[in-house]
Symmetry: C2
Subunit: 758 residues, 2 copies
């Protein structure tokens, strides 16, 4: 068991590496050459056109040493932008995402102070671990501060019981407040939003085939009859999977063409060549520029033919459509009601934003959808509980003997000591590592198979899958040594009531492990995030080989975005740890508070300067976040129950704890009824207000023209994704003075301007 | 353990008592004096005005002996009415309720034949129970036919595994078919229904208070703004709880007045007197007729004053209202959408039928509602698992010593042997019996506290509570000897995986017990139902003391109605038994088939001739029935799993069974998505079709006048409940020739006419 010294050492190492990363970041970001890696958001918004110059010394390297002194200046700068402006700048999704960290602070700072003040003295004076019979056991000072130090059956456990209630109550109170704030923010955001196509549009799926009419007319007739006063127009969806493939293939070929043209320009003496086979590795050698030019020509023709075919062929129509209405009220009505007596046809729901649509899933019929969900539920179960089996199999193959058998010619190389120890020490781990890296992709693929129709719902779904995986394999897996499969077996064979006890018992012992984990994953991990090593390298590679014009450079930027599907479940893990250890080992809490503080600053900086969200869902993910924190709370409560009854606390304490999870479940139901509809429905009153306002201000608006091309598959827009409409509209928004003077801080509106971050 | 002989004896006793009840029924129902007890439905429908006379011999006793010979004639007569006519005659609720029994037959007849043919030979030739080591144990022939006779680890268990799958598949298939049929029936019923106020009306609850406007105007403004094209009118709800009490008190006084008047008329020599105190038991003695006349006069005044107060006082307005729309489309839209951004105000839902409304619950605010639900959930848990504690307490008081201590003057009486043995043998049981009789009322009260706003939803809710109670206390309580509390303890302390095993093991042993139970509860119990002893006695008492006019006699009839809340969970118990024993002891199945057949005939007869439903919900309860059968199926599957793994079946069989409950849960989800919305939503297409039709056929309809008084608390209708609108409409329905000639069977439409039941 780790002692206090071990933890101090670990803390020192992690703090140092975190500081090293931050210094590296501070240096790299000040180089004009990296400006597009660390401030892409400002370029995308059109506020910054070229790197800020520091004197006239260099275009690539910043030689102004004064700027390096203030290397942590970005932190206050990141905190300075007020929230309303942040919402306008980065969208509500990002602003609310940041609030998850803030929520963590709100929950854990008071709990930390309280538990440290109350429980640490109670535990410290428990003195169980100093008794005679424990003398031979090694124990650390941390354990003296934990619940293990309280003697069995002591009255002191009443303090823990009370604190458990106080923590639960405080968490619920903060969660309720936060849910209320976020619901209000969402409603205000939706109400203050300018005209958007999705406000008028409903996605209709499972349009039944009609023998007498083509799909498009059938849809028009149905809605003319059933929504006579409100129906405006509709856009059919084409099955453009093949076309999309052609477009992306052409794009890749164009990149290669540019690469070889650049190469030729720099070295005109030698015509570049390539091989025609797979990845240019084999096949006959040809002139690269000619080859790619002709290939692109061919693809252009194919693409045109395919586009023609798709538009003219009625077989290429998907039985789904985007129906637009004359008013928001009409759309709200259609989205919330059932159209046909058969609930598996004419399914209506709010259309996602045009850029949020996941086009490939629009065509799945109802029955297939339910079967897909069943299969994926089973697959998720096996993935969670049996993922070690294939990995163990790969590991058993990837040992020295296995390799020697399959690839005998490598034998002399492998037999060398250095290589041998590398293989033995590294290969078994690498299979697991690769699996864990691939896991989010696998989960996302599973969500896609389940048939969700917007990127936002895909991310939400993947996040809940990942949360389950972390819960079972990281949390429970660390508490009970052994794989999830063994846990499952143990769970089935052990007495039901004993399971919480078994886990509860091991909680105090694992405190030091989790403290180390928080420092590695939560501190250094976040510092690596701000460094953006991969985009940095990629940008410079692209910049060297592909960029000719400024527009190319614009495209070489990879701002990235908040990856909700993987990062949110990770935050949830910290909530869970904090709630579980609040009563057991309060000294763990300051580490969690440090994680939330640091992450809050880092991600606020990233959102302001880097990330460019792919879509805007209006914080539709909050009910999930709320639910998962409550799941963590209930797990913590059950484990406290198990722990207290296992350590033989006063018999009368344990029954008092049973009420906790029941009340928490009730709280969840209450919040669900109170707030959730703000995230899934659109009230008619709001719709009516906006409609009336619009009629008064813009009586001559041609809505049909506005909506005509809103929901068209991106490949039909000439192969290029349009700049999302939202940004155009934000430019007109008076809250953000977007066309700021790039030099000289503007005092009005906000103090954050591009150079304020230096 | 009961032997075959025991069961034969029990079957004989129960069959004889059933036949005795049926003979008694056959004799009683043919007496003209009982005509209104056994054929009230026909009187209420206005088809029958006076008892059918059998010759001119007597008005009270039927002396035509030929009619007695055909004493089972009512059975084919009950089956003869075709279903469409049954729906018109008794409503969709009743017709669909009968189909639950039919569903039982559809599920269990094929399963019975198959399992008897396949599993009985497999079990019989297992010969485990004839082995040497079992020689000393007594076992019955029934056990030889059950799974207990198969040797441990035998390959024969594959047959049981296969049959378990076949039964599950067949059950799901029949359930799916039935759900589809009932959904279609419901949609057809709703579509073919004449104009009803509830089609145009939406119940709006939690109307927020407005400081500037009175409630009524506030409501009107809100809907004029947010549903401008569709809003027609609204009716506020008055808090008439006190008024309703006055009305019911007056009615009771009027009954007493009539009673004393009759008494006086029959015996004019003596003026009847009464005491003014509680129940006429104490207080000063006064002239009864004068006393009640003056009391009624006082109450009349009070009632008028209260009615004035309620209508004029804005404090007496409840924050709920019935809003009516110009079209069914408008009402469908309003019922299915959210009105305000705050989801706890302006809550809309379909208005129940006027006679289905439970007026007392309309005023409960949102937060209170969630707290009430929480409290009732906790109460239900304690009621289910700890109900034995108060009963045991009462029982411990109600013994000889307890009574002697409290009431010492009874000592000489109690000490007598006859009284003593009576108290000792009877009193402990009576507490439990009283509890079980009161249970449905208690559950209904709990549902009322939960705040449901229609009688139909109250009954649905009570049914699900009663189902849980039966499941835990009757089913599991019989399998594991001991109270639910002990089970709970066992469940927590025993290994999780062992719980199904423990119960699974005890299933085959309890087969004979359940066979006896089916015969007592299912055969004799149903035969008692058809006898209607309580209404028979009550009718004759009322007839003797209260009836003066024909109208009084009409009111003295108590047709009763299908008590969904208690009888449906009982049917579910038979489904559960059948599904559990299908694989284990197939010889139990014929008894269940007999139950379903007999009940089907009896209840079809009752529905045609007796019951008068209080409301018509359009079979809205079917999703619950479907779900509960599936719950039974899943319990059966888990118990089969436990049983097979406990009897040491071939290790490879058990894992195959795990897929069953998962597939069943998926099947439930699939059915829910496919059909449930037909029971909770009203599709816009249907609404539009009916609106268009109505506009074409009745262009000058004054809908406002039609809806004006539809939703008025019954006490405002002059203290008398109006005859429900539905009946008036049925009279115009061409499907049922209602004003039939009471003599001479009418061949067209249906062969069932009142005298066809003789």
């Amino acid at each position: 068991m780790a002692t206090l010294q071990d933890i101090a050492v670990s803390a020192a190492i992690n703090s140092l590496s975190t500081i090293a990363f931050l210094v590296a970041f501070a240096i790299l970001r000040l180089q004009p050459i990296n400006d597009r890696v660390y401030f892409p958001k400002w370029y995308l918004k059109g506020i910054r056109g070229s790197p800020v110059s520091y004197g006239s010394l260099s275009r690539f390297v910043n030689l102004d040493f004064r700027t390096y002194i203030r290397f942590l200046n970005w932190m206050p700068a990141a905190l300075r932008m007020p929230e309303p402006e942040l919402i306008d700048h980065a969208g509500l999704d990002s602003a609310v995402y940041i609030r998850i960290y803030l929520l963590g602070l709100k929950i854990f700072i008071p709990i930390t102070i309280l538990t440290l003040m109350v429980l640490v003295p109670v535990n410290w004076t428990g003195k169980t671990l100093e008794l005679e019979q424990f003398k031979n056991l090694t124990f650390s000072n941390i354990d003296k501060l934990s619940i293990s130090n309280v003697p069995t059956g002591s009255k002191r456990f009443w303090a823990h019981l009370l604190m458990s209630y106080v923590c639960s109550f405080w968490t619920c109170y903060v969660l309720y407040k936060e849910y209320k704030i976020i619901a209000t923010m969402r409603l205000e955001f939706l109400a203050s939003r300018n005209r958007h196509p999705d406000q008028f549009t409903v996605l209709v799926r499972n349009v039944p085939p009609d023998p007498d009419e083509p799909v498009s007319e059938h849809i028009e007739h149905f809605f003319c009859v059933n929504h006579p006063d409100h129906y405006l127009t509709h856009q059919v969806v084409y099955n453009a999977v093949k076309l999309a493939k052609l477009v992306s293939k052409k794009k890749s070929f164009q990149n290669w063409l540019v690469y070889y043209q650049n190469k030729y320009e720099r070295n005109p003496s030698k015509k570049p060549t390539t091989k025609t086979g797979f990845w240019g590795l084999w096949g006959s050698r040809v002139d690269a520029i000619d080859y790619y030019t002709s290939e692109i020509g061919k693809l252009n023709e194919e693409e045109d033919a395919e586009r023609e075919r798709v538009i003219s062929d009625s077989e290429a129509l998907v039985p789904a459509t985007f129906v637009s209405f004359k008013t928001r009220w009409g759309a709200a009505v259609c989205a919330q009601t059932q159209q046909s007596s058969n609930p598996t046809i004419w399914l209506t729901e709010w259309a996602p934003e045009p850029r949020d649509v996941f086009w490939d899933n629009l065509a799945i019929p109802y029955v297939e959808l339910t079967i897909r969900r069943l299969l994926m539920a089973v697959a998720l179960f096996f993935l969670t509980f049996f993922y070690m089996i294939p990995i163990a199999f790969v590991q058993s193959l990837a040992n020295i003997e296995g390799i020697e058998k399959v690839l005998p010619f490598l034998k002399p190389l492998i037999e060398k000591d250095v290589v041998k120890s590398f293989i033995q020490g590294f290969l078994p781990g690498i299979a697991l590592k690769i699996f864990l890296i691939l896991l989010p992709t696998v989960l996302m693929t599973m969500s896609k198979i389940e048939g969700f129709i917007s990127l936002s719902s895909l991310e939400k779904r993947s996040a809940s899958k990942y949360h389950l995986f972390i819960l079972v394999n990281v949390f429970l897996g660390s508490l009970i040594a052994g794989t999830a499969l063994q846990q499952l077996k143990q769970f089935i064979e052990a007495p039901t009531g004993d399971f919480p006890k078994t886990i509860g018992m091991s909680i105090p012992m694992k405190a030091t492990f989790f403290i180390t984990y928080i420092m590695v994953d939560g501190w250094s991990g976040i510092a690596v995030e701000i460094l953006r090593l991969v985009p940095l390298v990629m940008f410079h590679i692209k910049n060297t080989f592909l960029v000719k014009t400024d527009q190319d450079r614009e495209q070489a930027m990879d701002p990235g975005c908040l990856d909700f599907a993987t990062s949110e479940p990770r935050i949830q893990f910290y909530f869970l740890l904090g709630l579980v250890y609040s009563v057991v080992t309060p000294v763990l809490l300051p580490f969690i508070v440090a994680f939330f503080t640091f992450s809050f600053v880092v991600f606020r900086h990233q959102i302001i300067n880097v990330y460019d969200q792919k879509y805007e869902s209006g914080a539709a993910f909050w009910p999930d976040v709320h639910l998962r924190i409550l799941i963590g709370l209930i797990i913590a409560q059950i484990l406290h129950m198990g722990l207290l009854s296992a350590t033989g606390a006063d018999k009368s304490t344990t029954p008092w704890l049973i009420a906790q999870p029941i009340l928490t479940i009730w709280f969840h139901k209450f919040c669900k009824g109170r707030f959730e509809s703000a995230f899934v429905k659109f009230p008619l009153q709001e719709a009516m207000v906006k409609d009336t306002l619009e009629r008064a201000t813009e009586p001559n608006l041609n809505l049909k023209a506005y909506l005509q091309d809103a929901y068209i598959h991106p490949v039909f827009k000439g192969g290029e994704l349009d700049i999302p409409v939202a940004i155009d509209e934000e430019e007109n928004n008076p809250l953000v003075p977007t066309k700021r003077n790039p030099h000289g801080g503007s005092k009005h509106g906000s103090e954050v301007s591009p150079e304020a971050h230096i």
